[in-house]
């Protein structure tokens, strides 16, 4: 028996046919609204479309009311060429260049099948950037894993890292940074966020809209298979006989080579001027692409679904509409250009099929072998989904958490204990060298990578002639966000902002990936709202707009949610990448600490690693201090005054010095200034601090700049004059001296990951 096709004509005469809307995740009132919109019951194809497009993932129904803050509090700036609402925001970086960047999550799939989950996460975000008309230039991967010693962590860590490498390396996109953080809160919910950045000339910006009646809708790329349609099988199961349809895949497999072809082919058709509108296919596949293209454009579209090339001939129309098969794109093409378009596709060996055309009917009409199975106003599918104002509740446990001050934790009190703590911290999974991870990623391809891990931000050259470039950093300390989500989001922004400025780039714009538990839990919803407000307020104050982002809810196991994890990415611009500030100090440099250190150990890496403690008041985020520090760093970098700079964040000053020393293999001798408590100076995580190194020739000029900026400066010591027997020597540590040979420090730092994955 063939699959029964539910036609619009049939829906009109069988208003009472039972429909499995609940199994598809629709609430009774949502189902009712669909019936009101259509003035009849939906066909099963329509039901499939609405259910997936009105899902949390596609409709942002729980987050929308909050995300509006990013627009309402948008700073007054003219850098935004395309704002929130498109596939990715676009920023003007000068000289006619535009840059687009965005983060997305692929969390759950990466837990189920780490390699493929992470790989397809990269694939998805790259298509988002491509669909703006930009050439993808680099990727980054902020990652969160569970307890490093849990038996399942190794599976997820190794799979995710090789998946990101396997896909990104094969696409030829350098990986210029990311994060690797371990915390038991992510055990059953690892976070795999992926960022892509691309560049284009202003005139090459493309949008996802289907304009021009009579223009053709072309689907190109991979064939459509039964990927990611688990939910919709309820529509099929009732109508097949016992043989049933072929089994549907539980995991999507990425084909990076196909994606590489898709990139080259897409850029070629765009540059040849053959494309009116373009959209990538990600979540919700053809449902999303057709309804979004139509509702952003002329408002009508006619699609012949039976023309879609299939990988699995047993797919039903509902499944084809919802399939999330990877490596597909959709373009709107003027009929006169279609031959040229198809020719370029053929050159790249990319299957391309005209599946429909733009109409002025205001309706999205989809037929199956000539019969109408979908007839809907596209806006109602793509943009007018339900919006919830979900209940919010400040958690009671926050007060208990705040009262649990890290002041009670035993601290080192002599030089020997400081030395011991140093070793423990340097080898701790969150601070240890990430070379095991990053050596699996190609950071050289395309030849424009100016800075990559372990530098504070990734930096790429956009224009070979002028040296114009951009820097990006992503950050978030989920423990701080747990203590206070409003401050946590600002803390993440401040850190990313500082990282970008540290390398000499001027922060310009923001993207984010908001990873939270279930929005149906009022406490999680409160955390979410607080984080969004915090971020929006801080962006306004710093004058850098949010250009886009992504929300990932339901990261929880049972009723235990992950730490709220608002990952924030900041993009900065630098006129000439030659003038970047690296983190490698030079022989004989003076080492200076910029910024004031307070007792900020709540949420710190030290409290976590040494005491498994989380509690107290998170560090204050002083945005004015960040802004003024950032400006100083950019000016000093541009004037060539700084040898090196590296920000102080996780693991405090001790870790900053460790990183800088290991980076160059040059030791240093520093001494605890009068009046400072050695432990606090070394491991407190007060924000708005950076370590710089300055050579003799520029020291006076730099100190004058600091005075001009009102920047607090603390001289710490001096870089060794050569690399013989290099060591970090810290004097005046509770009356003693701590000597850390660099060879051992590096060995401790680099041994951790190989041990974790053994």
């Amino acid at each position: 028996m063939a699959h029964h096709i539910d036609l619009v004509s049939e829906a009109e005469v069988t208003p009472d046919a039972a429909q499995p809307f609940a199994e598809l995740g629709l609430k009774p009132d949502e189902y009712q609204r669909i019936r009101e919109i259509l003035e009849r019951r939906p066909t099963s194809a329509e039901l499939a479309m609405y259910s997936v497009m009105w899902s949390e993932h596609c409709s942002y129904k729980s987050s929308k009311v909050h995300l509006r803050s990013f627009g309402d509090k948008k700073p007054d700036t003219d850098v935004l060429l395309v704002g929130i609402g498109e596939n990715a925001g676009v920023v003007d970086v000068g000289d006619g260049w535009a840059v687009t960047f965005k983060i997305e999550s692929h969390n759950h799939p990466s837990y189920v099948e780490p390699y493929q989950g992470a790989a397809t996460g990269i694939g998805g975000i790259v298509r988002d950037i491509l669909s703006m008309g930009a050439r993808p230039m680099a990727v980054m991967d902020p990652l969160r894993f569970g307890d490093p010693d849990h038996p399942d962590t190794r599976r997820v860590l190794t799979g995710v890292v090789s998946g990101i490498g396997g896909y990104g390396n094969c696409l030829g996109l350098p990986n210029i940074g990311g994060e690797v953080v371990f915390d038991p809160s992510y055990q059953g919910n690892p976070l795999v966020n992926a960022l892509c950045v691309g560049a284009m000339r202003h005139e090459d910006i493309h949008l996802a809209n289907a304009t021009g009646v009579g223009n053709l809708v072309v689907l190109y790329g991979a064939r459509t298979g039964g990927d990611g349609i688990g939910g919709v099988s309820v529509l099929a199961s009732e109508t097949f006989d016992e043989g049933g349809p072929a089994k549907r895949p539980s995991v999507q497999v990425g084909d990076p080579f196909m994606e590489k072809l898709l990139i080259e082919c897409t850029l070629e058709v765009l540059h040849a001027g053959l494309v009116e509108g373009i959209q990538d296919l990600g979540g919700a596949g053809i449902s999303c692409a057709t309804s979004e293209l139509a509702s952003n454009g002329e408002g009508g579209m006619h699609v012949e679904l039976d023309r879609v090339p299939l990988r699995d001939s047993s797919l039903t129309p509902e499944e084809i509409l919802m399939s999330e098969s990877q490596e597909r794109m959709c373009a709107v093409v003027v009929p006169e250009n279609i031959d040229a378009f198809l020719e370029i596709c053929e050159k790249w060996d990319v299957t391309a099929t005209v599946i429909g055309e733009v109409t002025d009917t205001g309706r999205l009409i989809i037929t199956w072998h000539g019969e109408v199975i979908v007839d809907v106003p596209p806006r109602t599918v793509a943009h007018e989904g339900p919006v919830y104002n979900r209940p919010m509740q400040r958690p009671d446990w926050l007060d208990t958490l705040a009262a649990n001050d890290p002041l009670v934790l035993p601290r080192p009190t002599d030089a020997q204990q400081v030395r011991d703590t140093w070793w423990v911290m340097a080898g701790s999974p969150n601070l240890a060298s990430k070379v095991w991870v990053t050596s699996q990623y190609d950071r050289y391809v395309l030849g424009n990578t100016v800075l990559a891990q372990p530098e504070d931000s990734g930096m790429i050259r956009i224009d070979e002639e002028s040296g114009l470039g951009v820097a990006i950093s992503t950050d978030c300390n989920g423990r701080i966000a747990k203590l206070n989500p409003y401050i946590g989001a600002q803390h993440a922004l401040a850190e990313a902002y500082r990282n970008v400025a540290t390398t000499g780039a001027t922060p310009l714009a923001v993207t984010n990936c908001l990873n939270f538990g279930s929005p149906e839990d009022p406490e999680v919803m409160w955390q979410f709202a607080q984080a969004v407000e915090g971020l929006a307020d801080a962006c306004l104050q710093l004058g850098i707009p949010v250009t886009g982002g992504n929300v990932s809810f339901y990261n929880q196991t049972g009723d235990v949610a992950i730490h709220p994890t608002p990952v924030v990415g900041v993009l900065g611009v630098i006129d000439d990448v030659q003038r970047r500030t690296p983190m490698s100090w030079k022989p004989g440099d003076s080492i200076l600490l910029l910024g004031e250190t307070r007792d900020d150990l709540a949420g710190s890496e030290w409290a976590h690693e040494v005491h498994r403690h989380l509690g107290g008041q998170p560090p204050t985020v002083d945005l004015e201090a960040e802004r003024s520090l950032g400006r100083l760093l950019v000016w000093a970098g541009r004037d060539g005054v700084l040898s090196a700079a590296h920000d102080v964040s996780d693991g405090g000053l001790a870790q900053t010095l460790t990183d800088m020393a290991i980076r160059t293999g040059l030791g240093a001798s520093v001494s605890i200034p009068d009046g400072a408590d050695p432990f606090m100076l070394l491991w407190s995580e007060t924000t708005a601090r950076v370590v710089v190194s300055v050579d003799r020739e520029h020291l006076a000029a730099f100190l004058a700049m600091c005075a001009e900026h009102g920047q607090m400066v603390t001289p710490l010591g001096r870089v060794a004059s050569d690399a013989t027997e290099p060591a970090l020597v810290v004097e005046r540590v509770y009356g003693g001296t701590v000597t850390l040979p660099l060879g051992e420090l590096r060995a401790v730092s680099e041994a951790t990951f190989p041990r974790l994955v053994r």
Binding site: V112, A246, K247, P249, Q252, F257, S325
Partner: protein
């Protein structure tokens, strides 16, 4: 000495980009009419001694967890020689 062969194949519904690449190449190189290519892995395992029930059981277990990924792959285990 015992000898066991474990064949691991992608589940039929899972996309096999490797197989598709080979299929494309076979066609370009002049072999017409290839409708499908699936690429799998084969492990040839040699053990000293004999394959008693215990070892057989642990091999079965390892084939299902270590040698194959049950989320996307199937396997068959063939004892060529029980030793």
């Amino acid at each position: 000495m015992a000898r066991v062969v474990v064949d691991v194949t992608l589940k039929p519904e899972i996309l096999d980009p490797q197989g598709r690449a080979v299929q494309g190449a076979l066609g370009r190189l002049g072999l017409a009419g290839v409708t499908s290519v699936r690429q799998g892995k084969q492990f040839v395992i040699e053990l000293e001694g004999t394959l008693d029930a215990d070892r057989r059981a642990s091999l079965d277990e390892l084939a299902a967890t270590l040698l194959s990924n049950p989320v996307i792959e199937d396997f068959t285990l063939t004892v060529e020689d029980a030793g």
